[in-house]
Amino acid sequence: MTEVHVEPRANKIDDYAGLLGSAEIAELRALASRLEGRTVQMVNSTSVGGGVAEMLNRIVPLMEELNLSIRWDVITGGDDFFAITKAFHNALHGGRYDLPDESFKTFLAYSEQNRARLRFDSDFIVIHDPQPAALIESRANHRGHWVWRCHIDLSQPDLRVWDFLSPFVDRYDAAIFSSPAFARQLPISQYLFYPSIDPLSDKNREVEPDLIAEILRRYQIDPQRPILTQISRFDRLKDPIGVVRAYQIVKRYFDCQLVLAGGGAADDPEGEAVLAEVREAAGKDADIHILDLPPWSALEINALQRASTIIIQKSLREGFGLTVTEGLWKKKPVVAAAVGGIPAQVIHKHTGLLAHSIEGTAYQIRFLLSNPAIAQRLGELGHEHVREHFLITSNVRRYLTLFLHFQKEQ
């Protein structure tokens, strides 16, 4: 078991006051003051890479700054353990689980090792995702509150894996999901915590116009003509071909450009195949820009989103869809599919437009290009929606509230 020591943040909690108002920060402090002296423990499976580690790297120091005593532990395991948990992950997302029954024993053996190494003495213990879920076995001698934070969509799991995991989950005090659509019927309380973005990160902070201009030049994108952008890895579930088709319909009416930017093609054979299909669908259209970006492209993505006229997210299936959150935060009008967590963000005709088909997507884009004032208004309201619900500070507030709730019940 490894305890993670997070580097002190460059951004302090008061830096968020410029975006949220000082009253909101004062309220966070008021909530936290009621938890003074209480201890919190976060446990997950990695300290680097992936959305959970990224989120914990931001939340842990913010909670420390609010005077909570918080510790972040990472479980350890061999390659065989992580091969099994990767297979769990895919199976819980609806894929098939092909590993033998022996794999469940291996999973539990590693869990035992981690239990032996880990100290469970905090008031509130938050276990993230399935990998450390069986650590709940340690709660017998522990007075604290145990919460299982599930970051994945459990709506259609492979039942072999779920039937194995659910007896562990049932023993927690509560579970947290990112959307009501991702939850399951459980005998414990389930809470809704939306995922969040950090408005001060490279992906989302304000960037200088010169940098935006330079990045557009680098990719030969014309700033004078409308730019339609979908940011997502090259994955069939993100329907990049559908985006190309929608663009081709729009192109009959508007002299626009399409940017499809994302990663995942370099280290994923399927991503590579999808990228090839997208290139084929794009043909020789010089106004379609297909950008396979490396993982360290946060500023480039930020600049591309800010340069865009409209952000598209035409996924066939989606988790929460943080690229939508990022687009909304940048005050961009968003046209997106009504799947996964997207309808929670895009309230149709209020904070963006929803579509259910290629033709519908094209129609909504044409509508926005014809009505820039409406597009601007949707973008502004989308920004407010994110400010209110999907920023890292909202996430901190939800955790504080949950801990206060447990404290009151005790």
């Binding site: 009253a23 309808p343 309230i347 209020h350 504080l400």
Partner: protein, 217 residues
């Protein structure tokens, strides 16, 4: 003038508990409204307005929004949206009207009532945690200064959800102004501020403007 009892500024923080109940058609929505908890009716109406306070054009409650965007039934959505939470001091009455409107529609349109929506309606409910902000007001001036320090959740707590707590067609601010400072007219004007066409920020700004127009006491 100094109040006998100070105004205690409080913030509330809300958890959203996911219910084990969902509806995929209008008829199921009707059953859901009948069977869900009071905390769920509160979440999808009073709380929804606070959560979407920045939408000042045509957003009313989660039921109306779902009927419009997931069921494509604008006439029913309009009827549901026309319910004004300021008219209700009990969730039972609000539930009764929601049930009646959806039930009447399903009765008159049995085919539409059975049609599957684009996406389910998930019943959730609110868990509220109140926390005093640590400051209070004894005078109108202190009250105005306190308002300036309030975040959205506090304004929502004192101005919108207070109606259910008080069981009155009023709010914490108006009640205190009328009772403790004998400023009934100011309290009435504060209560008249429209929660549907104002954001929580503009509600607070309007209140401060009204207070600053008051003659010095």
């Amino acid at each position: 003038m100094k109040a006998n009892k100070p105004f205690q500024f409080v913030t509330a923080s809300y958890l959203v508990r996911i219910g084990n109940q969902e509806s995929v058609s209008l008829i199921e929505l009707q059953h859901g409204i009948e069977g869900c908890s009071d905390a769920s009716i509160f979440y999808h109406t009073f709380q929804s307005l606070g959560r979407h306070h920045f939408l000042t054009e045509g957003f009313s409650n989660d039921f109306a929004e779902w009927v419009f965007s997931a069921c494509n039934r604008p006439a029913l959505a309009e009827q549901l949206a026309s319910l004004d939470i300021r008219d209700y001091v009990s969730l039972a009455d609000l539930r009764g009207d929601l049930r009646r409107i959806v039930g009447d529609y399903c009765h008159s349109n049995p085919r539409e009532a059975q049609q599957a929506a684009f996406e389910p309606f998930y019943f959730c409910e609110t868990v509220e945690e109140e926390v005093p902000l640590g400051f209070e007001a004894w005078t109108l001036e202190e009250f105005r200064d306190g308002l300036k320090r309030l975040g959205h959740a506090s304004v929502q707590f004192h101005f919108i959800t207070s109606r259910l707590r008080l069981h009155l067609r009023s709010n914490d601010f108006s009640q205190w102004l009328a009772k403790e400072l004998e400023l009934k007219e100011l309290g009435r004007r504060v209560d008249q501020i429209d929660v549907y066409t104002n954001t929580l920020d503009s509600i607070r700004t309007r209140m401060i403007e009204l207070i600053e127009r008051e003659p010095v006491q």
